[in-house]
């Protein structure tokens, strides 16, 4: 299947530091790609570069078009970007925040159209945020905020979802809820890429795993091919035990090397 988003020799420089270089990556419809890597490996920079938020070397293609040739508005309709942190600067209601996801679809009129409302409601329902949709986002817990942030992205109905640490602040149950949602989007035909820290969780959800190492892709492929003792030692600098429990790969970090 053709790639929805493709990066060729992509790199980025922040200040004078070369954070990212020579990354080739393709995201195809229906696929859930998980990015892992130690702190400072360039995961966030990669996501931001793919989302069109950073300039740098290499080329990014949206379908068969160069990303720069696509208008910011059209690009925004295709790519949903979920930044890490889930910060909201004004105490808007949850429903109003989720409705922000419809901005790329706005047609000049001020209020939301019928389709917009339907998409917002669907996103609220899917993330379990409908029940507190009229509350102010600044009064929410970290887990609730993370789900609202995801609902905002889903409301835009993007073909491509780039999520930077979507489950960072979540308890175990909502980690599953959020990742199930992202995987469901992939199964429904979207291309989904998420940065995760929990290696076992990454192995459980990834159709393909991308391991970043020093601004480059260190290893890429099926979870069992990427999550080897050697790779974990050389990239993360840890000694880890890798088991298969009930058909699932489980990574247990044991010590720093």
């Amino acid at each position: 299947m053709a790639a929805l988003l493709r990066a060729e020799g992509v790199g980025a420089t922040l200040g004078r530091r070369h954070i990212l270089g020579g990354v080739d990556l393709a995201l195809t419809a229906g696929e859930f790609v998980v990015v892992i890597g130690p702190n400072g490996a360039g995961k966030t920079t990669l996501v931001r570069r793919l989302a069109g938020l950073l300039d740098g070397e290499g080329a990014i293609y949206l379908g068969d078009q160069k990303a720069e040739a696509v208008s910011p508005r059209l690009r925004a309709r295709k790519i949903g970007y979920l930044p890490q942190g889930h910060v909201f600067h004004w105490p808007l209601s949850v429903a109003d925040v989720v409705a922000l996801g419809r901005i790329p679809h706005a047609t000049g009129a001020r209020d939301l159209g019928v389709e917009d409302r339907a998409a917002v409601l669907a996103a609220l329902e899917a993330t379990g945020t409908l029940e507190f949709a009229d509350r102010s986002v600044t009064t929410l817990s970290g887990g609730e905020r993370a789900r609202v942030a995801l609902a905002r992205v889903l409301a835009g109905e993007p073909q491509i979802i780039l999520a930077d640490e979507p489950v960072a602040a979540l308890d175990a149950r909502y980690q599953f809820v959020v990742l199930d949602l992202l995987r469901a989007r992939a199964r429904a035909g979207a291309a989904v890429m998420a940065v995760l820290h929990d290696l076992s969780l990454a192995a459980r959800y990834a159709d393909r795993l991308v391991m970043m190492d020093g601004g480059r892709i260190g290893a890429e492929g099926l979870p069992e091919a990427v999550l080897t003792r050697e790779n974990l030692a050389s990239t993360f600098g840890i000694r880890a035990r890798i088991d298969t429990v009930e058909g699932q790969l489980v990574v247990t970090p044991q010590a720093a090397l």
């Binding site: 910011p72 808007l92 409908l130």
Partner: protein, 348 residues
């Protein structure tokens, strides 16, 4: 299913209270505008004001209303409106309720620009170059501060830099007037530093209004961008907002609006801070819906303050900038107190 989702979709509708906000504020501004035409050393009843406006009343009332009070009322509404809007825009751009044109040193810098032109007699006080010079001053200060702020500077940095620019511009204004060959320098200093709408004519209205209108039009463009910025700069950009253009429009819009106002009325502080603050709860903190109410609240505030200075008995009329500062500064201190924990945090 319908019964379940139907009431839920109300979540995305505007609350009833906010639907009356803009019409209510328009009515308030209108009433204050009429009051402003009637109040002064000679108190005119509504009948006389209307007759004076239409030119059907007696000569004295016609002169007072049309020549003396009408320019003043128009300027207070226009300048208040633009300051409220400029405040709402800067707060939207920086995602912080403490931002305002004064905080950026824009009025002081604009005053310096205007004073420079007058003090050295390049052009007279009714030249179109006056608002242009004021605008340039405001443009420099706002541009410089946004440059310093960058995408991630803390509000503390902006406040300190704004303070420095204000002080510098204020000192430069005084210096320019001291060095100027003008015996009325001291009075002029008071005018430019404190702001007043006393003795303004229709000519003042004509030189200021085009700048103010252009500035407001520019500022009204970016409501949606300010709303998107609730999510931070990266997420807003990912929603298709072109932040560089937004920043440029806000800087230009604020400079035009503030420059036009300062050129004819001197520096009037705190309206841009107070007006958005007063109406924000009524629009559920939405930075886009805030813009019209904030602008109208600014118009109402400045017009009310300008009526107040005519009522307060004093030897000389109190400067309207003094009144807005006396009301606004304590409120600013209160806001700082409430947000003091956030002040060390990042703006972005």
């Amino acid at each position: 299913m319908d019964t379940l989702t139907a009431p839920r979709s109300d979540l995305l509708r505007r609350p009833a209270a906010s639907r009356w906000l803009v019409p209510g504020l328009v009515a308030l501004v209108f009433v204050l505008f009429l009051l402003s035409l009637g109040v002064g050393p000679v108190l005119l009843p509504l009948r006389a004001v209307v007759d004076g406006l239409l030119g059907t009343g007696d000569e004295a009332a016609r002169l007072i209303v049309r020549e003396i009070r009408l320019p003043r009322a128009i300027l207070s509404v226009a300048i208040g409106f633009s300051l409220g809007l400029a405040g709402a825009s800067l707060q939207g751009l920086l995602r912080n309720p403490l931002a305002s044109p004064s905080l950026f040193g824009a009025p002081s810098a604009a005053a310096f620009g205007a004073v420079l032109v007058i003090a050295f007699g390049v052009f007279d006080a009714l030249s179109v170059f006056l608002p242009m010079a004021a605008m340039l001053g405001a443009l420099l200060s706002v541009g410089l501060l946004l440059l310093i702020a960058g995408p991630r500077a803390s509000l503390l940095v902006i406040i300190l830099a704004g303070l420095a620019i204000s002080s510098l511009a204020g000192a430069a204004t005084s210096l320019a007037l001291n060095l100027a060959p003008n015996p009325f320098a001291a009075l002029e200093i008071a005018f430019w530093l404190l702001g007043s709408l006393e003795d303004r004519s229709m000519q003042h209205v004509f030189i200021a209004l085009p700048f103010i209108v252009a500035g407001c039009l520019l500022l009204f463009v970016d409501g949606r961008a300010f709303r998107a910025l609730t999510l931070g700069e990266d997420a807003a950009a990912s929603l298709g907002i072109q932040l560089n253009r937004v920043r440029l429009r806000v800087v230009l819009g604020v400079a035009l609006a503030v420059g036009g106002g300062v050129a004819v009325a001197g520096t009037i502080g705190f309206v841009g801070l107070v007006a958005p603050h007063l109406v924000r709860p009524f629009v559920r903190h939405d930075p886009a819906r805030l813009m019209w109410p904030a602008a109208l609240a600014g118009a109402a505030l400045l017009t009310a303050a300008d009526i107040l200075v005519r009522i307060i008995p004093a030897q000389n009329e109190i400067k309207v900038g003094v009144v807005t500062a006396l009301i606004g500064a304590p409120l600013f201190i209160g806001l700082v107190f409430r947000h003091r924990r956030g002040l060390t945090g990042e703006v972005a």
